[in-house]
Amino acid sequence: MALKLHTESLHTEPRLGETAQQMTAAPPASAATTVRKWRHLAMQREVIVLLAMVLFNLIFTPHFWSLQTFNVNMTQVVTIVIVGIGMTLVVATGGIDLSVGASMAISGALAPMLFLNIAGPGGIALAFVLPVLAAALCGVFNGLLVTRLSVQPIVATLVLFIAGRGIAQVVTDGSLQAFNTPAFQWIALGKVAGVPFQVLLMLALVVLFAWVVRKTLFGQYLLITGGNEKAAYLCGVPTATVKLIAYTLCAALAGLAGLISISVNSSSDANVVGLGVELDAIAAVAVGGTALTGGKAYIGGTLIGALIIQLLRYTLLAHGIPDAAALVVKAGIIVAAVYVQRRSR
C-alpha cells in the first residue's frame, strides 16, 4: 500500500512539470518515465529494508512472531507517526515545525483538567475536543507567523517550542496529574480484535492523509506550494492559506498524539509529554523519503520510516545491545537513508 502511495503522490509533480515544459518545448517523453522508475525503485528500497529487518528478526529473535510483539512495536510508534503525518504536511510546504512537542504537552495538560472536573460523558467529550482545538490554535499561531510576517519556519515555531511547554507547565503548576478514567483512556488502551485501538487510529489517519495528499485539491496545492512557492502563487494557488492549513493540521494531530500519550501513561506530566518528539518525527519523515526541501509528501513513507527506526531499536534491545548504542545506530541510519535518497534523485 505504502509503495503505491509513494509512486502515486510522486506522479502529480512530474506531470505538472511536464505540462509546463510542453508549453515551451516538447520534452522527450522517456525522461519522465525513467525518473518515475527510479523513484519506484527508491521507494521499494525502504520497504525492502523494513521487510529485511522483519525477516532478520523472524530468524534470529525468539518469540518475534506474536501478536504481542506486533502490538508492542506498533504502540511505540503511534505518537511518532501521528505527529509525523502532520510534520510531513509541513515539510511538504518547505517548512518545519519544532513546536509539536509543546502542542502535545498543552493538549495533554488540558485534557485531565476537563475530564477530572466535569463529570459524565460531557466532560469526556470536551476532553477530546477542546485540547485538540487548543493545539490547533498553536498551529494557527505558527502558520500566521510564517505566512503573514514571513518568518522562517524554524524561528517561527521556535517561539512555541520554548513558550508552549512553559504554558502547559504554568497551567498545571508543573505537577503530575494522575487519573484512572477508562472511558477517556480507551483511545489508547482499548482493543479491537486484539489490536490496540490507537494502532488502528494511526493506520486510519495514515490512509486518510495519504488520500488527502493524493486526491484532494488541498493535496495538490500543498505539493505545488512546496515545489515552487512563487510559481504556485503566480498560478493562483492560495499559498498562504495552504501553509496555514498545513501548520494547523500538524499541531492538531500533535494534540491528538498528546491525548494518546497521557492515556497510555494514565498520567499527564507537562514536563515530559511529547519531549523530543519533534526530532523523532522529523527523523521518521526523512527516513521515509520526504525531502526536507519541500514539494514532496510521502505519508506512507513516514509510517515506514518510523517503523524502520523502531524495529531497529527493538532488534538491538532484543539482542542485548544497550539503548544508548541504538541511538548511535539511529544516527547512522538517518544519514545513510537521506544520502541514498539524494543519490537516487
Binding site: 518545519i96 519544532l98 507567523l145 510576517l149 514571513s150 518568518v151 522562517q152 524554524i154 524561528v155 517561527a156 521556535l158 517561539v159 512555541l160 517550542f161 520554548i162 513558550a163 508552549g164 511547554r165 512553559g166 504554558i167 507547565q169 504554568v170 503548576d173 508543573g174 523530543g276 526530532l279 522529523i282 527523523a283 526523512a286 526536507l292 526541501t293 544497550p322 539503548d323 544508548a324 548504542a325 541504538a326 541511538l327 548511535v328 539511529k330 544516527a331 547512522g332 538517518i334 544519514v335 537521506v338 544520502y339 539524494r342
Partner: protein
C-alpha cells in the same frame, strides 16, 4: 543598526528594571555568578552564530557539550589540562565530522546535525554508563569552572576571549569574510573561487570546539560529566542568535549582538529569581520559558517589520 534597536532597548530596560527594583541585582556576587553560569551559553551561541552566518544550522551543540563533559570528567584523573584538552577535542571531532558529512555527502545541515546530536548523546551515555561521571577528587580540574583569575570567574574569561576572538574573526579574517560570503550566496562564493567546503568545515569545527568547551565548563562547574544535560541547548543558542538579529538564511550576522541575545535570555531567569526572592509574588520557574518565548516573539515581529520596510525600499529604489 535599526534592526538591532529593539533588543538593545529591551536589554537596557531589563538592566535598569533590575537595578531599580532589587537591592542586590548590581552586586558583585550576582554579576559574577550570572557571568559564570551563562558563559556556557555564550560559547555555544558564538559557535552557532558562525554556522548560521554560513546559512547552516547546528542542532548537535547541546549533546556535544554533554559528550565533552563526560569525556572531560573521565580524563580528569590524568590532570586538569588533559581533561580540558580532551573535552575540547571531543567537541572539535564531532564538529569536523558534521562539516565533512555536510560538504562531502551534500546532506542538509539540519539532518546531519540532528543525526550527530543523537549519536553524540548515545556515545555520552555509553561512556558514562547511563549516569553522571564525577570528576577525579584530587585533580585541579574543578577550578576551570569554579575558580577565579584576578577575581574574575575563569569560565567567564574563557567566554569573553572566545567572543572577542569570534568578533575579530568574523570582521577581519579570511575565514570570517568567506563565511559571510557563503551565507550570502554559496553559488556565487563558489564561482568567485572561494574554498567553500573548507570554510564550511571550519565553521562547524568552530561550533563543535566551542560546544566542547562549554561541556568542559559544565563538568568543571558541577563536578560531574552529565550525559543527559545539554538537551535543548541548541535551541537556546539559536534563539540567542536570532535575538541578535542574525538571519537564519545566512550572509549576515553579528557576534556582539549574539552575546546581547544570550544576556537577554539569561537576564529573564536572573530577574525571575530576584522577583521570587522579594516574596510579593511567587512565579514558578516555568514562567521563564514563557517569558523567553514572548521576548523571542516580540523581537521576531519587530524584525519582520524592519525587514519588510527594507524590502520595500529595495523594490522602490530602482524605480
Amino acid at each position: 543598526m535599526k534592526k538591532n534597536l529593539p533588543i538593545l532597548l529591551a536589554l537596557a530596560a531589563l538592566v535598569v528594571f533590575g537595578l531599580v527594583r532589587y537591592e542586590h541585582f548590581g552586586s558583585a556576587y550576582n554579576i559574577t555568578s550570572f557571568w559564570r553560569y551563562n558563559s556556557m551559553f555564550a560559547l555555544i551561541s558564538v559557535g552557532m552564530a558562525f554556522v548560521i552566518i554560513t546559512g547552516g544550522i547546528d542542532l548537535s551543540v547541546g549533546t556535544v557539550a554533554a559528550l565533552a563533559s563526560v569525556v572531560a570528567a573521565l580524563t580528569s584523573v590524568y590532570g586538569g589540562w588533559v581533561a580540558v584538552l580532551a573535552g575540547c577535542g571531543a567537541g572539535l571531532a564531532v564538529g569536523v565530522l558534521n562539516g565533512l558529512i555536510i560538504t562531502r555527502l551534500k546532506i542538509l545541515p539540519f539532518i546531519v546535525t540532528l543525526a550527530t546530536s543523537l549519536g553524540a548523546h548515545g556515545v555520552a551515555l555509553l561512556l558514562g554508563k547511563n549516569d553522571a561521571v564525577s570528576i577525579a577528587a584530587e585533580s585541579n580540574f574543578g577550578n576551570f569552572g569554579q575558580g577565579d583569575l584576578f577575581g574574575l570567574p575563569i569560565p567567564g574569561i574563557v567566554a569573553v576571549v572566545a567572543a572577542v576572538a569570534g568578533w575579530l574573526a568574523l570582521r577581519s579574517t579570511r575565514f570570517g569574510r568567506h563565511s559571510l560570503a557563503i551565507g550570502g550566496s554559496e553559488e556565487a562564493a563558489r564561482l568567485m573561487g572561494l574554498n567553500v567546503d573548507r570554510t564550511l568545515v571550519m565553521a562547524y569545527a568552530v561550533s563543535g570546539l566551542l560546544a566542547g568547551m562549554a561541556g568542559v565548563i559544565l563538568a568543571a562547574q558541577f563536578g560531574a560529566g552529565q550525559p543527559n544535560e545539554g538537551v535543548g541547548w541548541e535551541l537556546f543558542a539559536i534563539s540567542a542568535v536570532v535575538l541578535g538579529g542574525t538571519l537564519l538564511t545566512g550572509g549576515e550576522g553579528s557576534i556582539a549582538m549574539t552575546i546581547a541575545g544570550v544576556l537577554l535570555l539569561g537576564l529573564v531567569f536572573n530577574l525571575l529569581n530576584f522577583e521570587n526572592g522579594l516574596g510579593f509574588i511567587s512565579l514558578s520557574a516555568y514562567w521563564q520559558s514563557v517569558i523567553r518565548g514572548v521576548f523571542l516573539l516580540l523581537v521576531i515581529v519587530l524584525q519582520a517589520r524592519v525587514l519588510k520596510q527594507r524590502e520595500r525600499k529595495r523594490v522602490a529604489a530602482p524605480a
